[in-house]
């Protein structure tokens, strides 16, 4: 038993690494953040994978050392204790090593942040943008305002159209979001499209995504916003650029028609 126990963490480590690299298998979110909707979410998941492997190595190292000490130096096997009070060189060495690891993780992460935080203009797809009906004014970037309130998200599109709960966005076009709130603090989060950004009254948060394929991406408010916080869901429907152009024009027409009908009946 004693000969097997120290090897278990090593087996666990190999399993973790194998599991982490097998991204399709781990895509369910068991070990890695959600990915597959937008490049920023994918890049976060890649960064996370590297940090997770380093973390696993540190954790397994500490656990193995501890398990070894507990098994090897139990009083029945080790009747006398060595009276050691410290070892300055060893202590300096491991402090430097720990600092080195932290500096490495920090520097490595910092090199990855640019591509996560800001959309790469070179990757923009002008053809998709013009198909989606986005003019040159936004440099091919679609700006959508996201407004939180108890307990529904509202989306405002550049042509004046509005939608609630479901955002419709074109595939292949960089979408930038300006996130704010009308009442309490909320948090905008669609896991497959990147990290969450808080909607705080009086402030505007910014983030972006670029949808890679058509589909439905679900999420929900991530900041406690009152009793129905759990029901404040959101989804992004990714559609072809031409379909987006048709949808947003139709949405505008419908809203205008509804406004006219309301005004006429007054």
């Amino acid at each position: 038993m004693a000969s097997v126990a120290p090897r278990l963490p090593a087996v666990a480590l190999i399993t973790v690494i194998a599991y982490a690299f097998d991204c399709d298998f781990a895509a369910a979110g068991a070990l890695l953040p959600e990915r597959g909707g937008s490049p920023n979410a994918d890049r976060i998941a890649s960064l996370y994978t590297v940090v997770l492997i380093l973390a696993a190595v540190v954790f397994v190292g500490v656990t193995v050392a501890l398990a070894f000490a507990l098994v090897r130096y139990r009083s029945t096997r080790s009747p006398t204790a060595a009276q050691i009070r410290g070892n300055t060189r060893l202590e300096i060495a491991w402090t430097v090593a720990a600092t080195g690891l932290i500096v490495f993780i920090a520097v490595f992460s910092l090199t990855k942040f640019g591509a996560i935080e800001h959309p790469d203009r070179a990757e923009a797809n002008p053809a998709a943008a013009s198909e989606a009906g986005i003019g040159d004014a936004g440099h091919g970037v679609l700006h959508i305002r996201v407004v939180g309130r108890q307990y529904i998200w509202m989306f405002q599109y550049p042509n004046g159209a509005t939608s609630f709960q479901e955002m419709v966005a074109p595939v292949g076009v960089t979408v930038e979001l300006d996130i704010s709130s009308r009442d309490v603090a909320h948090s905008w989060w669609i896991p497959k499209l990147g990290g969450k950004f808080d909607a705080i009254p009086g402030y505007v948060s910014h983030t972006w995504f670029r949808l890679e394929r058509a589909g439905l991406y679900r999420g929900q408010c991530a900041e406690l916003c009152g009793r129905n916080h759990a029901d404040m869901t959101a989804q992004v429907r990714a559609v072809a650029p031409a379909e987006y152009a048709r949808w947003v024009a139709r949405q505008k027409r419908l809203i205008a028609a509804a406004d006219r009908a309301r005004d006429d009946s007054r």
Binding site: V62, A81, A82, W189
Partner: protein, 562 residues
């Protein structure tokens, strides 16, 4: 009179002594004695008993939430009741359980460890305890009216505006005020006691490491609790007197609250965990029969953590609109704090190396602490990387992270402290069999509850949701987590049963049952009201080692022996 004889023996060996020059008034018996006491040991026990009572309440609240979440679409709790229970659970565990439990252990142990007769300000000490009780009563009184439901962080504008009916948030504010007074005065007392009342020869370099951790904790409490006291006062005036500190519609800032809250809130994590570091630093050398490895590094890292803890608060706010420079600064400081913490863990493991480890229950909890707290610390470094944080903050990943730090960290430390010092407090051992079973139930139950929650968070489950849909696929993980919570609760309950059982029937312990290193073991178990008949002069970090040797030699030389 065997104590008399052994005292004569000690005097006979030439151990330099301070002779007590006061005789205590007779102790009052019964409940009047407990209510009017200013004895640090009785106040310590009052803290511990009250806080374990609140732990039972906080635990029931946790189980209610886990039962509600056991399967999708459950209806055990309404959305309103869920938010109330979640607010009560977090607030209870932080302000009414972990902080007062450490106040209890510190009250009992610190004066004994430094060879003092009592705390520096015994009446203020009693006042601190009763302020804590008042805070608990005010807070739990709200259960009969409208409990708070804005979470233990009470974010504005949800807590400041007209968004929640009822006055529960005010009860929460008064709890912060009252327990804040309790903690600030308590820390002042600890600071003055440790600064001025150490036994002769106990320089700062010979101060026990538990006392060092309490010094670091007192610094953090004195610097950050006034900030939260001010912040909740502004919240109170916003709620009732028309001020606009947190209301963006009239010039206030909803984010100001988050800055003030976390300026306190992050050091608060270390306020809860540092005393556990102190306990681990006491327990490991005793049960490894070996001096602590790197005394100075451990003491210094406690102070380093206390300092850095006040420079990391905005890592709780990475999803809010912060300038890039602030994001980078708080990421780096948050990572930096892993260094003193990591140094401690390595020192602890080195303490075990080449020792002669005796496997008693306190050591089990200390070893469990090392494994699980390391994992919580590592996810802390991951959370410092802000794009990663934005994927996992406000999800069950964070819930898992801080329970690894606060349950596997602080509560394991509390369990180790309880099993370690119970013989001193009562004169009897806790049952080892029940203790070890309790440890394994807590260890396995804890892992089942919280390890799986990392995955829940990664797959998109936000924290503080009263329910979730079946098509999210979170049902199985939540069920495992709920089963784990009940196993964990059984483990804690077993320790409480152990305490009740061992009070009457536990094996007699004697003054120094563990062959420990510090002065509390020089006093009888339980110590008399005045603690020590004579206070020895301290010549090292482990004064009890020399005292044991001297007493042994005196016994062997024979004259005047019983």
């Amino acid at each position: 009179m065997s104590t008399r004889t052994s005292l004569d023996v000690r005097i006979g060996t030439g151990v330099p002594l301070l002779v007590a020059d006061r005789v205590d008034p007779p102790t009052r018996h019964g409940w009047v004695g407990w209510v009017t006491t200013t004895d640090h040991k009785r106040i310590g026990i009052l803290y511990l008993v009250t806080a374990f009572g609140f732990m039972a309440l906080g635990g029931i609240e946790a189980l209610l939430m886990r039962t509600q979440l056991a399967q999708p679409g459950n209806t055990v709790l309404s959305p309103q009741a869920y938010n109330e229970v979640l607010t009560m659970h977090g607030t209870t565990m932080v302000f009414l359980v972990v902080m007062p439990l450490w106040a209890g252990f510190a009250n009992y142990v610190v004066p004994l460890q430094i060879g003092a007769r009592d705390m520096a300000f015994p009446k203020m000490n009693a006042f601190s305890y009763w302020m804590y009780v008042a805070g608990g009563i005010v807070f739990y009184g709200s259960v009969f009216f409208s409990p708070p439901e804005a979470g233990w962080t009470s974010y504005t504008p949800l807590s400041s505006g007209p968004y929640i009916p009822g006055n529960g948030t005010d009860a929460w504010i008064y709890l912060i005020h009252l327990t804040g007074i309790s903690s600030i005065l308590g820390s002042l007392n600890i600071m003055v006691t440790i600064s001025n009342m150490r036994a002769r020869g106990m320089g700062w370099g010979r101060l026990p490491l538990f006392c060092w951790s309490m010094v670091a904790q007192a610094v953090m409490i004195l610097l950050t609790l006034p900030v939260i006291a001010g912040a909740v006062t502004l919240l109170l005036t916003d709620r009732h007197f028309g001020t606009c500190f947190y209301d963006p519609h009239c010039g206030g800032s909803a984010l100001l609250w988050q800055h003030l809250f976390w300026f306190f809130g992050h050091p608060e994590v270390y306020i809860m965990i540092l005393p556990a570091f102190g306990v681990i630093s006491e327990v490991l050398p005793v049960f490894a029969r070996k001096p602590i490895f790197g005394y100075k590094a451990i003491a210094a890292s406690s102070l380093g953590i206390a300092f850095l803890s006040m420079l990391v608060w905005a890592h709780h706010m990475f999803a809010t609109p912060l300038p890039a420079i602030a994001l980078a600064f708080f990421m780096l400081t948050s990572m930096l704090i892993a260094i003193p913490t990591g140094v401690k863990i390595l020192n602890w493991i080195a303490t075990l190396f080449r020792g002669s480890i005796v496997f008693r229950t306190p050591l089990y909890f200390a070893a469990g602490f090392l494994v699980l707290f390391t994992l919580g610390g590592i996810t802390g470094v991951m959370l410092a990387i802000y794009p990663i944080d934005r994927q996992v903050t406000d999800t069950y990943f964070v819930v898992a992270h801080f329970h690894f730090v606060l349950v596997a960290g602080a509560v394991s430390g509390i369990m180790a402290a309880l099993y370690y010092w119970f013989p001193k407090m009562t004169g009897r051992f806790l049952s080892e069999r029940m203790g070890k079973l309790s440890f394994w139930l807590q260890f396995v139950g804890f892992l089942a509850t919280f390890l799986i929650q990392h995955s829940l968070g990664l797959s998109g489950m936000p924290r503080r949701v009263y329910s979730y849909r079946a098509d999210t696929g979170w049902g199985v993980d939540n069920l495992i987590s709920t089963i784990g919570a009940f196993i964990l609760a059984t483990g804690v309950l077993l320790t409480l049963v152990n305490v009740m059982w061992s009070l009457r029937t536990g094996a007699k312990a004697g003054p120094d049952p563990w062959k420990a290193n510090t002065l509390e073991w020089f006093a009888p178990s339980p110590p008399p009201a005045h603690n020590f008949d004579v206070t020895p002069v301290v010549r090292s970090v482990e004064p009890m080692r020399e005292l044991r040797r001297q007493i042994r030699t005196a016994h062997r030389s024979g004259d005047g022996d019983e």
